[in-house]
Amino acid sequence: MSPILAWGTALAMLCFAVAMLFALIRLFRGPAAQDRVLALDTMYMNAMMILLVLGIRFDTMLYFEVALIIAMLGFVSSVALAKFLLRGEVIE
């Protein structure tokens, strides 16, 4: 692996970290509850992509399963929160 790929992964992770920071600001500042849910959704997607880039950088396929679990649990939690905002309860 040449330094090109090392710099590319570093730049991608920097972009994801800044994107997570923006989502965190929106999470603290969101005027309504759905803004905060959307910010949480963005944050778990960014965490998943950071783990995938770390898997490329450390040259291991161990992080792939972590990313898959984060994607599935994040989707379930986002759907549960949206359902709670929609109905007032999650399972009716």
């Binding site: 991608a12 923006f22 959704d41 997607m45 040259d59 905002l85």
Partner: protein
């Protein structure tokens, strides 16, 4: 090649892929990072919630597509076999990101309608006790239907409350 490996840190530079694949992976990774950053910037800077919804959903979908394609290329070329694991996450993200966006948009629409309807009902009844925290859109619609029908027909009110797409007046 082996000399080059021995001079580099072992965790960072363990496996070898061709040069053009490295350049392709780097372009994909940087493009995915920048697209995701633009999406999160839209989440931070837009004014309305329905404008804010566009940035992260499209940016995260396209960014994760780029990242997963780069990861698939890297592991396929470094392991010398076709690695299909990333396609799983790719399909999952492509299926679930529109579902989350649509559910959140619908929840925001219901909450906006519910707050407007309960304010309308409070203004009509003159009783500000029914706060918007508890009342969902269906409750507010049922209240509005009951308040609208002067001789109270409970069947008509209950039947009206099953149409959540009905606009207030």
């Amino acid at each position: 090649m082996n000399m080059q490996w021995s001079m580099m840190p072992p965790t960072l530079y363990a496996s070898w892929v061709p040069m053009w694949v490295e350049i392709l992976i780097t372009v994909l990774l940087v493009a995915g990072g920048i697209i995701t950053l633009i999406g999160s910037l839209g989440l931070l800077r837009m004014n309305d919630f329905f404008q804010r919804l566009h940035g992260p959903s499209m940016g995260n979908t396209l960014g994760s597509m780029c990242i997963l394609l780069g990861s698939l290329l890297f592991f396929s070329f470094s392991r010398h076999e076709l690695v299909f694991h990333e396609v799983l996450i790719l399909l999952f993200v492509l299926l679930t990101a529109p579902v989350v966006g649509m559910l959140l948009a619908r929840a925001a629409l219901y909450r906006k309608q519910g707050v407007a309807l309960s304010a309308q009902v409070n203004a009509r009844n003159g009783a500000p006790d029914a706060g918007p925290a508890r009342s969902s859109a269906a409750d507010a619609l049922a209240q509005a239907a009951v308040a609208r029908a002067d001789p109270p027909a409970p069947d008509a009110g209950a039947a009206d409350s099953h149409h959540p797409s009905r606009r207030p007046e």
